[in-house]
């Protein structure tokens, strides 16, 4: 242990602790910009500088380890003066358009400017000299004039996602953060995962918003606007309204959507249950083809719910696309059914339906706009909004989410099981699939206490589990005694580990779940900011609480799922499913 003094208060910390962390321990908040607990230390913004007795220069507290006997001053006159100048220098290069900025009110630079308020500009404004080239791709928006070049996005794209779509380029005053040759996000390897957005301290990187169009549709009496909400939105939407991370607001969210004027408030979780039926059967079919018919099939089968992950494999492993389940994501299954099954049952002209999804995700915007996603004869999902965008709409409508009563989803396509809910957490799709697949094969419940498949839960980068099939039903006797190894990865850098094994022909798994974002969808690029591991864990715990509290825990027991097969789809992997619920993928260039 190391003992040091911070602002004359003694503090004891383990070796290797930075001054920044040590200060936090005694309640001293040192401001930061380039620092993020998810990422490696950069030390480039200098906002966190502190005075250390006996050292001539101020040091960045995020990058300086605490030492025995050190005497640190975090807010002395010298430090405050330096921090003030540093802040003003950063602001001189930042387009100060706070009232025109999407991140107004949730900006780390703005907070700092508030703390170190100056009634006059200390330095010449250089922001207007910087290029005002705004990238408006389908999913993401990049405004370099608001970038403070802290490189949190660059580190996120490299360290968490292993994509490296962003890099620092040029030098000195011309240094900027950019894609290859300053192309738009739509033209490069970017997966649209939005992790750069979640990690950006300013308004330089944001999602492309679509709520103005949705307001218009809601106010158009000729349009029937249906909305579906992803599992992880209900455990995070409370955060922008001041609730603790991990607060479940499912009922209040449904109530808010109804008050916003959506004609029908439905649930993506219904489509998640449907995904499990289709994907579970696809998995069993692949096993049968391989072990009974001796056909060449790609195994392991990999989940296809995460559009960031799908775009990643299209770019990085285009030769392994056969491994992806052909199932569409829940969002797109929902969309395809909204303008066919739902329209038919409700007697509404599908041309008048506007189908909106609320997602924890920015890649869902890209997915909704994929040219192949028109199997209903219309664009299946008209717009994908993030959790943040929904929070903004609720605020624009003058609704206090925390004061709303809990309401239910509408029917049809509003009912879901606990299995549908856990799609929001890493490992959830695997767990949901195993609950159903095991029962199809053996006729018994999956052998885990309370159906909780603990080995696939939690924040480990790659998780493994083995399921042994015993006493199988006669038609699945070929699986008798089989030990099926499965794996779960989240964050695309972890996905690479699994994919490289497959590429080398050394993968021991038969079924793999991959989610693009750390923690799964609850840590998605469209979720409230900030996000860190502590917040991710709280959202994950909330997801499992919601699952445990559901009367139905298995997708195949959802009555609305039984109904849709009886009345419309007829059978899993059937003709209608094939047309509406399954898709194909596109080989993309990595470079």
């Amino acid at each position: 242990m190391i003992t040091l003094k911070i602002n004359n208060t003694q503090v004891e910390v383990p070796e290797g602790t930075t001054i920044l962390e040590a200060a936090k321990k005694i309640g001293v908040e040192i401001p930061t910009l380039c620092h993020h607990e998810d990422l490696c230390v950069a030390g480039n913004c200098r906002v966190c500088v502190v005075e250390i007795k006996g050292r001539p220069r101020l040091e960045a507290s995020c990058a300086t380890p605490a030492e025995n006997g050190m005497e640190v001053f975090t807010h002395s006159a010298k430090v405050r003066n330096a921090r003030n100048v540093i802040t003003q220098l950063l602001l001189s290069e930042h387009a100060e358009e706070c009232t025109l900025c999407y991140k107004n009110g949730n900006c780390e630079l703005q907070n700092l400017a508030e703390e170190y308020y100056h009634d006059d500009e200390m330095f010449i404004d250089l922001a207007h000299e910087r290029e005002h080239r705004i990238d408006k791709s389908t999913a993401l928006r990049y405004d370099p004039s608001k970038c403070i070049r802290c490189q949190r996005c660059v580190r996120t794209c490299a360290e968490i996602q292993g994509v490296n779509a962003l890099s620092a380029a040029f030098k000195g005053k011309d240094m900027m953060i950019t894609t290859f040759m300053e192309k738009t996000f739509g033209e490069v390897v970017c997966t649209n995962c939005g992790q750069c957005v979640v990690h950006c301290p300013t308004g330089a990187l944001t999602e492309r918003t679509y709520y103005d169009e949705i307001w218009e549709a809601i106010e158009d009496p000729d349009k029937h606007v249906v909305v579906n909400t992803a599992p992880s939105v209900r455990v995070a939407l409370g955060e922008p309204f001041g609730l603790e991370p991990g607060t479940i607001v499912t009922g209040q969210m449904a109530a808010a959507l109804r008050r916003l004027g959506f004609d029908s408030v439905l649930d993506t979780d219904f489509a998640a249950d449907l995904t499990i039926i289709e994907e579970g059967n696809e998995f069993i079919q692949r096993l049968k083809k391989k072990f009974v018919d001796g056909e060449e099939v790609a195994l392991p089968m990999i989940t296809s719910c995460s559009p960031g992950w799908v775009k990643f494999i299209e770019h990085m492993y285009p030769d392994l696309l056969d491994h992806l389940s052909t199932c569409k994501s829940p969002q797109q299954m929902f969309g395809a059914l909204a303008k066919t099954y739902y329209a038919e049952k409700k007697g509404i002209d599908p041309a008048k339906i506007v189908s909106v999804s609320i997602m924890p995700c920015t890649a869902k915007k890209f997915e909704a706009n994929r040219p192949e996603m028109k199997s209903s004869g219309y664009q299946d999902i008209d717009a994908g909004l993030t959790t943040r965008e929904l929070a903004k709409m609720i605020k624009q409508a003058g609704i206090d989410l925390t004061k709303l009563p809990e309401e239910d989803f509408d029917s049809i396509m509003g009912e879901s099981s606990g299995a549908g809910v856990i799609f929001g957490a890493t490992g959830g799709v695997m767990e949901a699939a195993l609950r159903t697949v095991y029962e199809i094969i053996t006729g018994r419940e999956v052998p885990f206490r309370h159906l909780d498949i603990q080995p696939v839960r939690g924040l480990d980068g790659v998780k493994e589990a083995t399921i042994k099939f015993e006493n199988c039903k006669s038609e699945y006797s070929f699986l008798e005694g089989a030990e099926v190894k499965v794996a779960v990865a989240h964050g695309l850098r972890n996905a690479r580990k699994i994919m490289d094994q497959i590429k080398e022909g050394k993968s021991p798994y038969l079924f793999v779940e991959i989610m693009a974002c750390p923690g799964g969808c609850i840590g998605g690029g469209g979720q409230p900011i900030p996000t860190n591991d502590e917040i991710r864990m709280k959202r994950i715990e909330a997801i499992y609480r919601e699952d445990a509290g559901k009367p139905i825990r298995k997708s195949h027991e959802n009555p609305e799922i039984k109904q849709v097969y009886e009345e419309f789809l007829k059978k899993p992997l059937g003709e209608k499913s094939h047309k509406l619920l399954h898709t194909h993928y596109t080989k993309r260039n990595r470079y």
Binding site: N164, S167, A169, F170, F180, M181, Y591
Partner: protein
């Protein structure tokens, strides 16, 4: 001009596929082709299994790695303070007159590109310029005219 795929293959073979080979490989391409095109950057990215953005980020950092097509001979006149005081402007004016191009431009025959550079360490012999790898210092209008003439003559031979 050699086969370009071959060029990159040879450079990768010479310097290896590690991340730190990137700069020598880029330098090798510049020596052959005078500039680094989008296609070359992507080929290098592929060969080293890194992203295009990383290659672009590195390449754009260095002034001597040009991303725009350049002439056969690149003239870089030092623009830093000592050369500026000792008559850089006259040097540039003379070159402009001789070649009929402005700073940043290339002659229509593709022979010369005129650029400025930061300090090249010739302050005690200012004003100075580089043509390709060659240093020319203590310049004046007449000296510049002779140097350019020599380069033009070499072309005819």
């Amino acid at each position: 001009m050699p086969d370009t795929t071959k060029l990159i293959e040879n450079l990768v073979e010479k310097y290896g596929k590690k991340r730190e080979s990137l700069l020598p490989i880029l330098k090798g391409i510049i020596e052959e082709e005078r500039y680094l095109s989008e296609e070359r950057m992507l080929e290098v990215a592929k060969a080293l299994d890194i992203s295009g953005a990383e290659v672009y980020g590195t390449a754009s950092f260095y002034s001597f790695i040009d991303l725009k097509p350049r002439g056969k001979h690149i003239i870089r006149v030092c623009k830093t303070i000592v050369c500026d005081m000792k008559g850089k402007n006259e040097v540039i004016k003379t070159i402009k007159d001789c070649l009929g191009i402005d700073v940043g431009e290339t002659t229509t025959d593709g022979m010369f590109t005129l650029l400025q550079t930061n300090c090249i360490g010739q302050c005690d012999h200012a004003p100075a310029m580089l043509i390709d790898g060659e240093v020319y210092n203590e310049l004046n209008a007449e000296k510049v005219r002779n140097i350019i003439k020599e380069y033009k003559l070499n072309r005819q031979n």
